[in-house]
Symmetry: C2
Subunit: 321 residues, 2 copies
């Protein structure tokens, strides 16, 4: 933390001089005054009175950390988050972290300095030291620990719904394919719910996880060549599902006649582009509004009953099952 002493040293003046500049006394030589102001700016020094008064006024800003706003799921989420914040008099600071921890750390630092009131985030980075129950932070999709609020769709039940639907439609040779989360994430429960339900219904599914750095199209091709006789597949996200369908189509496999495909997210909000995916629809509006509600409780020190809120999902019928 930069103090008045640092400013004095930087400007080469006495502490009293800095104080007189800050308090706008007329007794300071204009040249020296200029030099001190420059040092204040360069060192990013915040006079105590400013810091104090700044604290008096509630900061009505919330940072929203997401990998990228360009992703249709995140932009829909941001739409509702902004709307809910606005209703409560808060503004939204957008951070596309692109998975960069240093960018996310900057906002955590702003939170410490009281420049934002809270953070809502989808972060796939490790911030175990910075994110804890004491700071107003609400996580989406990722469970940090039991005492950091988290809002997510009911991923486990989503996976169950997918397995049940494929099997009820007559599929007997089913699989799951999805990108591995580098950290322990709620979204991985899609796979577990799918597996559990399939086993419960007497079918043993193939489960295929791949890594972050691998190309999705290549992975889908390899997977298809390895398992050409599947008749039903649950894909971790809609975009990956569409990629898989592209590979199937290129290989003369018809969807849904030969293979049924279910995605997860529900990113298509019109019926203009095909295939219209059958998918487990994220309750995006509810996730966004609930996350804001929890965050405002944290900000205002209101007790939170449930730290993990899993919002029910449903299967949205499209053209691919």
């Amino acid at each position: 933390m930069i103090g008045i002493k640092d400013v004095a040293k930087h400007a080469g003046v006495a502490i009293g001089t800095v104080s007189r500049v800050i308090n706008n006394h007329s007794t300071v030589n204009p040249e020296i005054r200029e030099r001190v102001l420059k040092s204040i700016e360069e060192l990013n020094y915040i006079p105590d009175e400013v810091a104090r008064s700044f604290k008096l006024r509630t900061t009505k800003m919330v940072a929203f950390l997401i990998p990228s706003i360009w992703n249709p799921f995140f932009s829909e989420l941001a739409h509702y988050v902004e709307d809910e914040l606005d209703k409560n008099g808060y503004k939204l600071l957008l951070c596309n972290s692109g998975g960069k921890p240093e960018k996310e750390k900057y906002y955590l630092e702003m939170l410490k300095q009281n420049k934002v009131a809270g953070i809502l985030g989808i972060t796939y980075n490790q911030h175990q030291n910075e994110i804890n129950s004491k700071i107003p932070f609400v996580s989406i999709d990722r469970l940090f620990s039991e005492d950091v609020p988290c809002v997510t769709s009911d991923n486990y039940n989503g996976g169950q719904l997918a397995a049940q639907n494929l099997i009820e439609c007559g599929c007997t040779n089913i699989a799951f394919i999805g990108k591995n989360s580098s950290i322990n994430s709620e979204v991985d429960k899609r796979e577990i719910g799918f597996y559990d339900k399939a086993i419960e219904m007497g079918i043993s599914p193939i489960i295929y996880d791949f890594n972050d750095f691998e190309d999705e199209y290549t992975i889908c091709r390899e997977f298809f060549l390895k398992y050409p006789n599947l008749d039903g597949i649950f894909v971790k996200t809609d975009l990956l599902a569409a990629t898989y369908i592209k590979v199937l189509t290129e290989n003369g496999v018809r969807v849904p006649q030969d293979v049924k495909v279910i995605g997860y997210d529900g990113i298509q909000n019109n019926n203009l582009f095909h295939p219209i995916l059958t998918t487990i629809r994220q309750p995006v509006e509810e996730i966004g509004r609930e996350a804001v509600t929890l965050l405002l409780k944290k900000i205002n020190n209101i007790e939170i009953d449930d730290y993990i809120v899993r919002i029910p999902v449903h299967l949205k019928k499209g053209e691919t099952v």
Copy 2:
């Protein structure tokens, strides 16, 4: 503007008492101190020193006004705007105005109070009194006046490219359809460029504008029933183009065999969903980065050479021509 006198009156104390509270003197009775702090908060009073020191520190925040982040064009734009701002040490405040002038006015007010350094905006509202050459504001798509910087795609040339391409592909019975902007907008030049080029090439096109409140699907149906024999159509936006293609398909008309369709925007960034539109692609990244560059010049009082920047566009081939 709330002054120290107002605070004193509100708290029922002398001005000197307020001053002592602000400067954290120990001579103030704790109860009175509490009362004064409450008044400061309620009146949203900013002590002069705070205001001054606040000004010393450059506010590194820019507000981004758009109708809705949910729209794929705006979310792509926001992605690049945030990236370019971040490179320059600025943060992005997101405002989905939803066309609400009062929400936009709030950010203009923040700008006046120095709480944001500048505003980047796609606003379809009238703010002639608030937006002028003196404030750091950069408009996207909409031309306010000659002295407010504006970045846009070359809409006129985009319209020309669409006409030229349809006619070169053999279309002789062509039309334009698009929603009217309520205000004089750069995007209306799509229609003018299309018309001019068609006339220049010896074809007289049908031009059809409709109003904001009308339903796009209904309009497309009515238009198709009125002009069933068109063989080429330029549609003002991609989403409207997809809606028109849906109507054509429902009526047994094949695209592109019977009718060729060109959109504008280029919202599809993968080849996973069909139809893959032939479209005039917005140079979204360049628009976003250029708009930020101009805004930073405005913020830092650097002279701007061109107040209207029209970025070249190109035709992106898809499946619909």
